[in-house]
């Protein structure tokens, strides 16, 4: 399910609208994931606070969302562009790829909450495909 030119255009245009709030979106999406899918907390066993406004959730949400924002500029070669991050996830973090889908879902929910008008069905399918492509690129080096 590769990204068409239309998908890339929709993603770029929408990201232009949300980029000012990217950090907050990352924080909320991560926070939602940890609450709604508590099994995901196992990857953060050294954290003390999993609430939405915890400094750990805020910092890590920003890290993840910044990387995703970067990926918007790499849509023509996500596998190549995310190669280093893929190595990291494969050898150090070893996050089961099923969790990429879970985080992606929570990013979509967060976008729907904060951009109910701009997050149209056409934007939704483009962003869903983009996040799936990013997830595949991150999992590329797993085996």
């Amino acid at each position: 399910m590769s990204l068409t030119a239309k998908d890339k255009a929709f993603v770029k245009a929408f990201w232009g609208k949300i980029s000012g709030q990217a950090d907050a979106i990352g924080q909320e999406a991560l926070g939602r994931m940890l609450i709604v899918y508590p099994q995901t907390k196992i990857y953060f066993s050294d954290w003390s606070d999993f609430s939405l406004d915890s400094p750990q959730v805020k910092k890590h949400g920003k890290t993840v969302m910044s990387a995703i924002t970067d990926a918007v500029g790499k849509m023509d070669d996500l596998t190549g562009g995310l190669s280093t991050l893929s190595d990291l996830h494969a050898t150090k973090f070893r996050i089961d790829p099923v969790n990429f889908k879970i985080l992606s879902h929570n990013i979509l929910v967060t976008l729907a909450v904060h951009f109910p008008v701009d997050f149209t069905a056409e934007v939704h399918v483009a962003v869903d495909k983009f996040l799936a492509a990013v997830s595949a690129a991150i999992a590329d080096k797993y085996r």
């Binding site: 729907a112 909450v113 939704h124």
Partner: protein, 147 residues
């Protein structure tokens, strides 16, 4: 039997009582047909599903969206026996409609996103958790009678 906390029961009743089902049902189904276009396979006689605008404006999609949400309402009113409430509907989806049960999950995800957009900040993580648990129970009940 599914155990519900008081918070979960109250949240489900609250979310559905405030929901504009004439809007949410049609939007959720339309979104499912747009975001997961292979689900259109079940609606060959619905006329023009050619693009997102056509799907969003299609009156048969809207009518069917309302039907689906009406079905959900039965679960809202029978939270302690969703399995029993949905037994016939499950047989219908398996034997007559031949719907891949994974597609229930896809529609459920679209419904979650439409409700999130409607409720905004009121769709807190705790509300999201209760809503998704409820929807997961419905999806599971719908898939139970498949053979």
């Amino acid at each position: 039997m599914v155990e519900w906390t008081e918070f979960e029961r109250a949240t489900i009743q609250d979310v559905f009582s405030k929901m504009n089902s004439d809007v949410v049902g049609p939007q959720a189904l339309a979104r499912c047909l747009i975001v997961y276009p292979w689900t259109q396979r079940y609606f060959g006689n619905f006329g023009n599903l050619y693009n997102a605008a056509a799907i969003m404006g299609n009156p048969m999609v809207a009518a069917h969206g309302k039907t689906v949400l009406g079905g959900l309402d039965r679960a809202v009113k029978n939270m302690d026996d969703i399995k029993g409430t949905y037994a016939e509907l499950s047989v219908l989806h398996s034997e007559k409609l031949h719907v891949d049960p994974d597609n229930f999950r896809l529609l459920a995800d679209c419904l979650t996103i439409v409700v999130a957009a409607q409720m905004g900040a009121g769709f807190t993580p705790a509300v999201q958790a209760a809503f998704q648990k409820f929807i997961a129970v419905v999806v599971s009940a719908l898939g139970r009678q498949y053979h």
